[in-house]
Symmetry: C2
Subunit: 244 residues, 2 copies
Amino acid sequence: MSYEQDRHSNHISQSFNEELEQIRTELLTMGGLVERQLSDAVEALVAGDTEKAEQARKSDQAINDMEMMIDEQCTLIIARRQPAAADLRLIISVSKATSDLERIGDETSRICRYAIELANDGKNVRGYQEVRHIGNLVRDMLQNCLTAFARSDAEMAYKVAKQDKEVDSEYRTAMRSLMTYMMEDPRYITSIMNVMWILRGLERIGDHARNMAEHLIYLVSGTDVRHSSLKDIKRTVREVEQKK
Amino acid sequence: MSYEQDRHSNHISQSFNEELEQIRTELLTMGGLVERQLSDAVEALVAGDTEKAEQARKSDQAINDMEMMIDEQCTLIIARRQPAAADLRLIISVSKATSDLERIGDETSRICRYAIELANDGKNVRGYQEVRHIGNLVRDMLQNCLTAFARSDAEMAYKVAKQDKEVDSEYRTAMRSLMTYMMEDPRYITSIMNVMWILRGLERIGDHARNMAEHLIYLVSGTDVRHSSLKDIKRTVREVEQKK
């Protein structure tokens, strides 16, 4: 029996089903906010647009509020509905994914702060191309994560885990170039450091997106794939596909 | 009625009580591992002891395993025992604290890697005193967190939240000094960058310890104090004390 069949056949209450679907929808709404914040932050940085960066930084509050609200609903559903099996997994994975989204929001707010500092410095710093490139990669990961949650799509989640490897590799290359620029011209040390913190933040966002993907795979398969190799994740996902 | 009275009077099953106490005990055991890893990492760095750093790095595996094991137990208890109120809060806060401990373990493993690089570089780099100082502060925070969980002590958790402010301020001062050293002598850029990453890791460990403290306050008070000011946390903790 597939995950979706299992989930919809095992409990009778229509309103329970609705409550469960609601927390998933709220996760997606929160994800949309975070995704928007992340695009705005990267655009603001590259354009030197401090106002946009300031706006994006402020959406952190709304994101934090959503985290607490979703968590509270998860707790209420557990207490009232006594969920088990796939229902409980949905609640747990939504709650954990929410926490990763909140941390992505935190990293993004920090990126906004560095973007503002860099714009105020007014220097023409290297590394923006790398930021834009890695920024696009992690935004794509985040979008894929949300799609995976929307469709209970383990294959898509596996793709996110693979993308994280690519981000890590691009990140290392970018950091090496920045280190070289820094040594060539120490006048730019402060600005390049800011670009480095931004890249580090983006790399961490990639890690959180990967965590979210792992939570989705747990939801769909019942297997906890945290700290697993890509190969093991692939095997788990293939088993899910075969059961369909 | 205090939190402890509430928890022990509201359910009849002795074995349920034991299961709940067991996950708390396991959280503390996992916390002990992480605390040890963190002390070893900082000592290894300051002494340039690559073997010790390598050892500490490896304990990451055991920490990850404990995270998954505790999480599985939490899920099982929810599915079988249908906990509510303070029991459910215990499970939720243990599960969340476990996740923060795992991230502290991650940061510490990364610190070990930088410590090994620094030892292999063999240069006499500045910033070690700051690392030792901030390292001691965050280790102390972590110890206090674990004590707070062991004793359901909200006052102690509030102390941890306060300590995080101190860590943030010391971190900023240390980073400013390191930036100055870097500009004075660009030959040390690579090594100083490594020290900076270590300091950043320690600062993040402080954030995770603060998160843990907030989970404990939620457990004891029922109030979610994430994203709250120190003043609001203090008020919540005072209300807990008054109910005792």
